[in-house]
Symmetry: C2
């Protein structure tokens, strides 16, 4: 769902997008590509990684590493990887726990395993409908971003602004992914108490 | 510092406050009591717990259980315990880690160990200067609250409102303390990036 929504948004902005899946014949990816015209295509994770200049990790956090391994290291090398995933474990029901937290994070794990990739963590603290449509909220709140490569963050920030976002907070290096991912438990609780996923965190000063 | 600030605020609202410490001759507590007039007094943790109708846990999260054991079970029995502590571990330097997180929380640990106490977690997601002075920010943002006892939460909410807070979000039972405490890593990072502890989370919809 996150990949579908982000991919569709990127196409609306004129980018070519290739949706990766385990299989090039993934039905949902085929359907998405057919629906989104000439700029859209689909393929394996490796096809998508080889095609893209910027890669979005929109997989479930528990399988992100596997998906990135299937994408193949040489296809990712030197590229920006926008990591919007959360390491949520729903296997024991609600509320979900995190598969990695406290002194580590999914963002850091990915950066350690793919040292040649410029991992930029962002957008993981909100619903994908809001990611691509900040105007849905009167005050859309903040987007957090972190990563080790300043140039990569600047490029991703520019992409985020083109989605309509204005208030972006750079939290520093990729270790800030710990805090960004650990927001999820309160996000899940807020969704349940507010009865909607259409809300966001706004930092007030 | 948190106890000093909250105690001083409560006295300004006309409450009698007894500050508890390991020792009744704790110099900072004595100084605080002398400075704050007739409504202020100090004593051991047990003295303070026996004195109070509502108990505030303003200790460092790592020693909260020890302080509550020194406060003695019979002095706490049936009372509201407002837990504003965070289980932050600074022993390995910055950034701090959490001594308990993910599938448990300090709020829950306290509630399990003191089953006769009505634990209400709140205020842990902000600086104490903001807790007692929401007017310091143009938009003060939200206070989160959780706990198992609805009546206790209503009473604490009323106290929070008397501090000037308007936007209080009840996150449900005490297990929501997981999310509330796991906000701290991003809070610490925000403090560092914004250069001030005077900020807050506002939930925008």
């Amino acid at each position: 769902m996150v990949g579908d929504t982000l991919g569709t948004k990127l196409i609306s902005l004129g980018y070519k997008v290739r949706m990766g899946s385990r299989s090039a014949s993934n039905e949902k990816a085929l359907e998405w590509a057919q629906k989104n015209g000439d700029l859209a295509s689909n393929g394996t994770f490796a096809d998508a990684a080889a095609f893209g200049e910027i890669i979005f990790n929109c997989t479930s956090g528990q399988v992100s590493l596997e998906a990135l391994q299937l994408a193949e290291r040489e296809n990712l090398q030197g590229k920006i990887l926008v990591d919007v995933a959360n390491p949520l474990d729903f296997s024991k029901g609600m509320p979900p726990s995190l598969t990695v937290c406290n002194t580590d994070s999914l963002g850091e794990v990915i950066q350690r395993q793919f040292t040649d990739v410029k991992v930029v963590k962002t957008f993981n603290t909100m619903n994908c409908q809001l990611m691509t449509n900040p105007g849905a909220l009167k005050d859309p709140g903040n987007v957090f971003i972190c990563g080790n490569d300043a140039g990569a963050k600047t490029e991703v920030e520019s992409l985020i602004r083109s989605f309509g976002w204005e208030k972006i907070i750079d939290l520093g290096d990729i270790s800030a992914a710990r805090g960004m991912e650990q927001i999820l438990p309160v996000w899940v609780r807020l969704m349940s108490q507010l009865g909607t996923p259409m809300f966001n965190f706004s930092i007030v000063q």
